[in-house]
Each structure stands twice: as C-alpha cells, then as structure tokens.
C-alpha cells in the first residue's frame, strides 16, 4: 500500500490481514504482563522475510520483552502471561503442538554480552548440532566451517579451532556466538543489543555481518544506538511504555517520523 503525504511517497506497512502467511512473523493484538505489570500493550506487527527490523525505545519500554516472545524466552519468567497471537511462517508458536526446541532451532538468539561456553572454538559452534543428535563428524565439521565462514571468523581461527573460545577478543567471541546460532540453521535471528559491549571496530564488523546475513535470514535487533538502527535496519519499530508508537521503513522513521514522540526519541530529546 502506498500513500502520498504531500509530495513524498510513504510505503505504509499494511496492518490488515496481520496474520497472513506471507509474512515471516505476524503478531496480532499482543498483550504481555509480568504479574500485574502490563509490559506490552496490544501490539500488532508484521515482519517480512529477509529483512532487518530494529526495535528501539527507552529502557523498560518493552522491546526486549517483545523480542523474547519470538523464541519463547519469556516462558522462564514465572509471572509472564500474555494474550494475543503470534505466528512464525504461518504457525502459531504458542500452540499446544509447538516443540520449543524446534522453535529455538528455527529462531536463534544473540545476546548483549558474548557468552561463549568454556569450550573450544570448534565445540562452541558444534554444540547445538550435538544437542540435536547429529553425530556424523563430517557433517559437524562442515557446518562448523561454514558457520565460521559466514561470520568471517574462519580465516582468523581455522588453525586454532581447539583453542578455548574464552581466549578470543570480545568482537570475535560475539561473532562466534552468531556462528553458533547459524550452525543449527535458523531462519530468524534475534539480537538483543549485540554490539553494546563491543568497541567500534568490532561493532562495524558485526553490522557488516548483519547486512550480509539478511540475504538468508530474517533479523530482529534490539538496539539503543540510533545510528546503528538507521545504518543497518530496513524497518524500525519504536516502543514506548509498552506501546508500539510507530513502525515503518527506517528511512522514513529517521527522516520524517509521523509521531512527535518518535521524533523526540530519535533526536535524543527524551529517553
């Protein structure tokens, strides 16, 4: 759907048929509570495949809670309960038949701080495959190499695969964690502030990687860095106090946001 505002064409994200099967992820009227605290308020959203979507908003706005909905990470929180629908590839991920392990294989996650296991570089990447029951050494070795190549770490570590992952630099560790996620062949990657603990050079390499990865994966990233959101994402969603205030193409959010609240936030006037 395209509408024209004055002389600029704005491609609106269609909100009708929000649970259609063409979207990679579709969420309809989602409410999330932690006990009595209403963390997400009636949020509906569609996320297209092979795109990078950035979730932005001040601390406590609900963006990470919303992100963790996609691989059911909130299930571990006792007071968590929700109302609404969420589908990935047309399937209700909170349905009774949903296999959570299968879901998490499909929807990988990268965290704020690099969290390699105290194992070798090779074993870190192979970990998910072994959990899945893959025993063929050749397949495992291929997947490890392929994953490390995708994150541009292979050339740096190919001769030290037995070395402890903890000996790598922060940026390398984060790329290793992404490789670990890729090894189990997900189709969605969730990233919760993946570069906030990294220096500018490592940040740049992760951003380049995200840009490359969207060819194969659908990526959703939570970030507090406005420049990062504008540099790497195709779509940006601004959350404030549990509400999805604005969701649109990134170039429009950062040039002509429709809501004053969005404008104030991205300009650093509050938050």
């Amino acid at each position: 759907m395209t509408t024209t505002t004055k002389n600029r064409k704005i491609e609106k994200i269609p909100q009708e048929n929000i649970l259609d099967n063409a979207s990679k992820i579709s969420i309809k009227e989602m409410d999330i509570w932690y006990g009595a605290f209403h963390a997400i308020k009636e949020v509906s959203m569609k996320i297209n495949p092979n795109t990078v979507t950035a979730f932005i908003g001040p601390s406590g706005c609900g963006k990470s809670t919303f992100l963790r909905l996609f691989n059911r990470m909130n299930d571990y929180i006792e007071s968590f309960h929700f109302d609404g629908k969420i589908k990935i590839d047309g399937k209700n991920i909170y349905g009774k038949k949903t296999n959570i392990e299968e879901l998490r294989k499909k929807v990988g996650m990268v965290f704020q701080k690099p969290n390699p296991f105290p194992k070798s570089i090779f074993e870190n990447v192979a970990y998910g495959l072994r959990i899945q029951g893959i025993k063929d050494k050749k397949i495992i070795a291929e997947r490890v190499e392929n994953s490390l190549k995708q994150v541009a770490l292979w050339e740096e570590v190919k001769n030290d695969l037995k070395k402890s992952a903890l000996a790598l630099s922060g940026g390398q560790q984060q790329r290793l964690c992404i490789a670990r996620t890729l090894a189990v062949q997900p189709s969605v990657i969730l990233m919760d502030e993946p570069t906030s603990a990294l220096d500018p050079i490592s940040t740049a390499s992760i951003e380049d990687l995200i840009f490359k990865l969207k060819e194969k994966y659908t990526i959703i990233i939570v970030t507090h860095n406005m420049q990062q959101a504008s540099r790497i994402s195709d779509y940006t969603a601004f959350f404030y106090m549990g509400n999805l205030v604005e969701y649109n193409k990134t170039e429009l959010i950062f040039t002509k946001p429709e809501k004053k609240q969005t404008e104030n936030y991205i300009s650093g006037k509050f938050g």
Partner: protein
C-alpha cells in the same frame, strides 16, 4: 542534549544574522543606486567581507553540529536548510555588491524617467517584501508566511520580462539612453536573480518545517 540545543540555537542566530546582513546589504546597495550615493555604495562593497566571513563561520558551525550531534528528522532538515539558505544568502550578498559596484563605476545617475517606466522601485519593494516573508517564516517557524514569497516573485518576474521590450522601445526612441539602459537592464537582472534566491530560501524553510520538497515544482 542541552548542549546540542544550545548549538542549534547558536546556529539559528548566525543564520538570522546572515539574513539581516544580506537584507541590509541589498537595501543599501539599492539606495546607493537610486540616490547615486557613492559613499554608501563603497560601504556596501566594504561590508561584503563580513558576508563572506559569516558564510564561512556558518559552514563551520554546520559541520561541527553534524559531526558532534548527528541530527535526524527535523533537526537534520534544519541543518540541511541552514546550509542551503546560507549559500543562497551569500549569493544575494554578491548581487548587492555588484549593484553597489555599478554605482562606483558610473559617473552620473541613471535616467530617472527610464527607471520609473521600468518599475524598478516596485521590483525592489517586492524583493524586500519577499525577504521579510522568509525572515518572518524562519523566526516564527511558520511555513505559511514563507509560502507568500512565491506569489510576490511573480511580480518580480513580470517586471523582468517586460524590461526587454521597454528598453528596446526607449532606446530606439532615444539612443542616448543606451548606457543607462544597459545598467538598468543589469540591475533588473540581478534583482530577478535575488528574487529566485529568496524563493529558494522559502523552499528550504518549507522543507525544514513541513518536510516537503517543493523544488522544481510549479506553484500557482
């Protein structure tokens, strides 16, 4: 945040200073021409240095603001507008300088009757009203006022277009007027260019305030 607001305010102040300076330069240049005041003309020429210095200062301030605060949305449009407006104002300053220079080169005042027929006074008044509109529009963040410029510019354009025929007729009648006619033709052309530059400034103000790009569009 406080610091970036201060920076932006300082930039706005510099922009207004440039606008006032160029407006004065234009007024004095025209006055020196219409009254054949060579002292005033020389003052205008002398003050051209101030216009150039302020132009550079604003350019540096814009660069610093962009580098330090990485503005987005309205703040980004503001900085883009200021840069363009600054450049347009500097060119208006150049035209004021050229008008004043004509006064210092010419030995005698131009024929007042020819000036009257050509409606140069009316043209100048329209240009000055246009500068008022952009100034008010910018200060009060009111794009409606800035939009008034387009209608006024039509008066300027009509006088410019008519000048060809009028000058041809008047010079045919009285060939002695040729020198004055050439000077007036050049002044009219400069005022017409100034009108266009003010129109550009109005477009930038509208872009800044309404996020609307109206360049190269026919406005009725």
């Amino acid at each position: 945040m406080e610091k970036s607001i201060q920076y932006k305010d300082a930039l706005k102040k510099s922009g207004l200073k440039m606008l006032n300076l160029c407006e004065n330069q234009l007024t004095n240049a025209y006055q020196s021409f219409s009254t054949f005041d060579t002292d005033l003309a020389e003052e205008v020429m002398h003050k051209e240095n101030r216009v150039n210095a302020l132009d550079i200062k604003i350019e540096e301030e814009c660069e610093q603001y962009l580098a330090l605060y990485k503005p987005v949305a309205r703040d980004l449009r503001f900085i883009m507008a200021i840069r363009n407006i600054n450049s347009d104002l500097e060119r208006i300053g150049d035209h004021a300088y050229s008008i004043a220079r004509n006064v210092t080169i010419k030995n005698t005042p131009v024929d007042s009757k020819l000036m009257e027929i050509l409606q140069i006074e009316k043209m100048f008044s329209a240009v000055m009203e246009m500068t008022q509109f952009v100034s008010e529009g910018f200060v009060n963040k009111n794009s409606k006022i800035a939009r008034k410029v387009f209608k006024k510019d039509k008066i300027v354009d009509v006088i410019n277009t008519n000048s060809y025929t009028i000058i041809a007729e008047e010079v045919t009648k009285n060939p002695k007027l040729i020198e004055d006619a050439l000077v007036l033709f050049s002044i009219i052309h400069k005022l017409e260019r100034v009108g266009d530059l003010i129109k550009n400034i109005a477009e930038k103000i509208i872009f800044y305030l309404d996020a609307e790009i109206i360049m190269h569009k026919k406005i009725k």
